[in-house]
Point group: none
Chain length 210, copies 4
């Protein structure tokens, strides 16, 4: 309960200044806690980061799996793109921390998280392969296409702000269209657009960065 606040403060700082540049006293102050008290809630700086990243990746995997119940490969990919973009737009700071600060995890923690991310990315790889096999997608290079599509979705964290010019659904639809165009596929739309949940760790305050 209180832990949500802590995660929010952590993500806000980590996203803005980076994990290494964020002090534990600073985090404590942000939630009105003595730095020593933080150690009752989270086990330490590393564990805090690990918790944030794990929650994020878990949510990404769960959300993505929920989104791909469609039968049609094109719709499956469209759902994945919509989820990826939607999740990133809904949790821009958490998503960025989960990406950038993987390197700040040490040893086995990083390996564990990396395998979660691999699992997530595999969903995209599979969908793309299915589409290729079904003759629906015609990318010059399937691997590069997947990377490009995911990367451009991830980039949404850099500029999308809830309540901005574009509604989330519109952004999702646009990215679906761009992704399918990259694959030279027929336009498609998932039966229903996935609406990713806002994580506990996502700060309420808009960030100033970029």
């Amino acid at each position: 309960m209180q832990l949500g606040q802590i995660h929010r403060a952590a993500v806000s700082c980590f996203a803005r200044k980076g994990f290494a540049a964020t002090g534990i006293r600073e985090l404590g102050a942000a939630v009105g806690l003595n730095s020593a008290t933080l150690y009752h809630y989270v086990g330490g700086k590393q564990e805090l980061l690990l918790g944030v990243i794990r929650n994020c990746l878990d949510a990404m995997i769960d959300g993505a799996q929920d989104a791909i119940e469609d039968a049609d490969p094109a719709q499956r990919l469209a759902s994945l793109v919509a989820f990826h973009v939607g999740f990133t737009a809904t949790n821009p700071q958490t998503a960025r921390v989960a990406e950038y600060e993987m390197r700040s995890l040490s040893g086995e923690h990083r390996a564990a998280m990396q395998s979660l991310r691999d699992e997530y990315e595999q969903l995209f790889t599979d969908a793309l392969a299915d589409g290729e096999r079904a003759g629906l997608f015609h990318a010059p290079d399937a691997g590069m296409a997947r990377l490009a599509i995911m990367e451009m979705g991830t980039g949404v964290a850099h500029w999308y702000r809830p309540g901005g010019r574009l509604a989330l659904a519109q952004v999702q639809l646009n990215f679906i269209q761009m992704a399918l165009r990259i694959l030279a596929a027929e336009p498609a739309v998932p039966e229903e657009l996935p609406v990713p949940a806002r994580l506990d760790s996502e700060p309420n305050d808009p960030e100033g960065a970029r």
Copy 2:
């Protein structure tokens, strides 16, 4: 003279562990210099980072401007994409540091570098606007398309390794095709593919991260 070595070591460390997590003694050791001697060459940690980023952004602006002498808007955009991808693939670590660690610059340094990056991005914005005006591009949203195209090019730093599976020119051509597809434009290819120079700051050793 050995400033190139220093920049290389710095970029290697900054890309792998981040600016804040990199110690100045560590950098010195990486080039066989006492930490105090580093201060003889670079003025300090901030100045070192600033130098790296400035050199990188300068090269990006110069290279991109050289690349857009084509008359045709589609070719101009193709050239820009090819340069962007080529530069990122040739200098993946430097490019990533220049992007990620902007936040580690303080105050006016960051503002100055941000304005350089804005200048670079403006080239893409202009090319896209020209193509739209000429009726060549049909993106659902011009702004989002530009961000998506740039972002997917930037993402190349995450996976491309010189000497890997794909030749640089092939990657450039693929990205040109993907970008034009996003814009629903006719296929186009620049008169000659830009061949971005390798920066002094780009380490020779492949990175371990990601």
Copy 3:
């Protein structure tokens, strides 16, 4: 609580070797504290010095003001001289640090402390002017006389040691006599000699210097 100890150690070192030549680890060791723990009590080296000097000057101003309730100008001056000499003899090291190391304060801190010292010196200037006006003092140059009188009192810090050859009261009386002689005034003695308090910052150990 043990802040007194810290101040004492600081004054002892500052008086012996000077502020700039004193290391913070050295100070910590002198009170059996890790250098980092010092920062828990005092905010830093500057703040430590500032605290010492401010306490000293506050005590000087308070003590001097308490000492000048006499009506007669000559007695007033005698009281001031007695206090000045007494304070300096009782807190020789603290007094010297407060004088010598003013220059080690930076910017506004120095200005603030200088104005406290001005306030203190003004008490002497006023007493002298009153005596002159009343025709009791006949110095060749009032300004020079004030400086001479104060300076010779300050000099007590260089040689007086509690428990030495002379009792404090005897020293005070001698200085009163010398001061009044400088002013060609009739001998006078305050109703009661001020007995300045020993500051928390005054070390117990006799100093080795000079």
Copy 4:
């Protein structure tokens, strides 16, 4: 020759910020020399300070000895006071460095310089003893009187500036008068007022301190 410039710069810095707080590069910059070049002229930081102090104390002893050819003990003391005040007023910064920074000398250097200062002070002690013996002086305490007289003369360095309100000779005469008053001696004036030379080490620029 060049050495005079160096000493001047050194004294200027040492008087303003103290020996420990003055960097050797700083001194080099002040005379337009590389820090390494300083080592050709002066052997090191310690040696530089030693040279300054020794020159100063030598000049003080020589000057004082020259000044006491008078037969009459009162005139002898008057000459000494006049010299002391005159020297201090003429070389305020050098004199202060020679006094304050004795502590920055290490080991035998300090002992040697201290014995020079003792030799200088002995001249005053002797003159005072002669006067006492001759029944000319009647101080409550001869030792204290000597300290007071010397200290008030030394204090001149804190406020006297060449070209200020008072001519040097006037200051000297005033101090003679004050000193003799302290001793309850008849007014006396030396046959001729000693005119102390300006040392090579005395900076031309007026100091800002105090």
